[in-house]
Amino acid sequence: MAQYALVIDLNTCVGCHACATNCKEWNTQAAFGPLSDYDPYGRHPSGVWYNRIMSYEIGEFPNTQVFHLPKSCLHCQDAPCVPVCPTGASYKREQDGIVLVNYDDCIGCKLCSWSCPYGCREYDEADKVMKKCTLCIDRVYDETLPPEHRKPACVLTCPARARFFGDIEDPESEVFKAIEERNGFVLFPDMGTNPGNHYLARTETKINLEEFEKHILKPDNPLFLEVMKRHHVSNKSAETTVEEVG
């Protein structure tokens, strides 16, 4: 059975919030919109978002790393938010595994959001219904769009190209291969939700020195001096130690 989902590369994600912003932008004006804002120009602006980016720091000082985690509905294969819905407004599509809310049936009881361990559903106080990422179903099936645009808004906008969209059950798809090759992982595997969205782990970037020497470190390369200089400086900074002051 097909399962459309996103695969997000934490290695290249720079935490720029472009996906969240474009998601908000698209879904405010498209079929599932609007996404309400409360007090948008006041002191405490807030509102409904389908996608939020969290930043975490891992390790202990000075050996720390920061990574960013874009989190939208993971379109779980065993979505716990669906069976609890009393009206059937929340449902999972059989043909592609997308989890949706039918705004015309939702009574706004919020129980589905209580049953999502990821906090991926947000209640719209203005429309009084539950909202969540639609996997841009109104883009991916829109035949008026050119084929290369039939992708979620967040995927198209990502400047770091950290987001991929496709059928994670189809061995030919880009996302299936990415998950296989780079050991894609899911959030909260213990919760029995079997999420569709996968993440690609951060890896330490290594420079292939052989390639480096072969192509760049040649004295006849006009950039040779500049490269040497930079290399030197970055080597220096790697050795920088932290001194206790006072």
């Binding site: 919030h17 969240a20 405490h44 602006p45 807030s46 509102g47 409904v48 978002w49 939020r52 980016i53 969290m54 930043s55 975490y56 720091e57 891992i58 390790g59 202990e60 920061v66 985690l69 989190k71 716990p80 069976p83 609890v84 819905c85 009393p86 009206t87 059937g88 407004a89 049936d105 939702c106 009574i107 706004g108 009881c109 919020k110 129980l111 959001s113 209580w114 049953s115 999502c116 361990p117 990821y118 906090g119 947000e122 209640y123 429309d127 009084k128 219904v129 992982f185 899911v186 959030l187 909260f188 595997p189 213990d190 919760m191 029995g192 993440y199």
Partner: protein, 338 residues
């Protein structure tokens, strides 16, 4: 979790309504086997009408929890999978069968149908309470609630409220059941005390997930929330984490114990020992139970910690609970706001 006042009102009114009916009808039921002398018609009628009005108020209050009240009927559609749907169906059916029972009883149309609907209302009432409790008890993501104690306490709360009010009716109408119901009220309040204590003690032994588990990282990594991606509060931080409530918890928890259990138990004991079982004391017992239960239900919500709070660094702090058994124990503080 953020406590919804509308649901707390529903718990108390539905609780009193169903609890009262359970006892009222049970006494009538016993007469079928020649046990006891039943109740005067007037008492059944008054008690039934109180139950009916209360469940009506409860349904009205609960509708304020919904975004779209007029669509509430749609909640019957997923009876097969959703406890909330079952609750809606049973609570609605309870009110309906109760009305029919009262009608049949008042006009003494047919004793068979009267008792048939009496038994039906009795069973549906219990199922309604059970379904309400199961909404909370089946939520795997709020570990504090995810226990059979939630259900046991909840049903016991119905019996506490019901028996206390029935004692008042018994005193008011001079029925021969006062002694029994004083005892029953004491019993249910004492049981409730036990269940609630167990519910609280259990929280110390919960195996809580950690942010590392949420992010699928090795257990021995230190990790800290740097930024949650929103300047102000959002739905996830207000619905699942009630900051003010958490601050008040250390006050409301003792108050709820005091008013729900200690005061009623002491008053009943006093009444027993001194033989002063009177209306004043039992009105105080009921009101104390009612106010105490309101605070208790509020506390129940605030005590619940949703696992999604992990992503925001708002889940209770604690050291890593090592499940794999060989990594060192490390105290890690996950905190965002200090």
């Amino acid at each position: 979790m953020h406590p919804p006042i509308s649901l707390i009102v529903f718990f108390l009114t539905a609780g009193t309504s169903i609890g009262l009916f359970i006892f009222t009808y049970f006494i009538e039921f016993l007469t079928l086997f020649g046990k006891g002398s039943g109740l005067p018609k007037e008492v059944v009628l008054v008690s039934g009408i109180i139950s009916l009005v209360l469940i009506g108020i409860g349904a009205f209050a609960a509708s304020f929890h919904l975004g779209h009240k007029l669509r509430a009927w749609k909640a019957i559609k997923r009876f097969r999978t959703s406890w909330l749907s079952r609750e809606a169906v049973f609570s609605g059916a309870y009110g309906f069968t109760l009305l029919i029972y009262l009608f049949l009883m008042y006009y003494e149309i047919n004793p068979f149908f009267e008792h048939f609907f009496g038994i039906l209302t009795f069973i549906i009432g219990i199922l309604s309470g059970f379904s309400t409790a199961m909404i909370y008890a089946t939520n795997k993501f709020v570990l504090e609630w995810n226990t059979s104690l939630t259900v046991l306490y909840y049903l016991d709360m119905y019996l506490m409220l019901g028996s206390a009010l029935f004692t008042i009716m018994s005193l008011y109408y001079g029925l021969p059941y006062t002694g029994t119901f004083v005892f029953l009220t004491f019993l249910f309040v004492a049981l409730g005390f036990g269940f609630r204590l167990a519910f609280n003690i259990r929280q110390f032994y919960l195996k809580r997930p950690t942010l590392n588990e949420a992010l699928n990282l090795p257990h021995n990594r230190t990790i800290r929330v740097l930024d949650t991606g929103s300047t102000t509060e959002n739905y996830c931080t207000t619905e699942f984490y009630y900051r003010k409530g958490k601050e008040l918890l250390s006050t409301t928890l003792p108050i709820s114990y005091l008013l729900t259990f200690i005061v009623p138990l002491i008053l009943i004991l006093y009444a027993w020992i001194t033989g002063t079982v009177n209306l004043y004391i039992f009105w105080t017992v009921y009101l104390s139970l009612l106010v105490g239960s309101a605070v208790e239900r509020w506390t129940f919500f605030v005590e619940g910690n949703h696992v999604q709070n992990l992503f925001y660094g708002l889940y209770p702090e604690e050291g890593y609970k090592l499940r794999k058994g060989f990594m060192e124990r490390k105290e890690t503080r996950i905190s965002l706001y200090n």
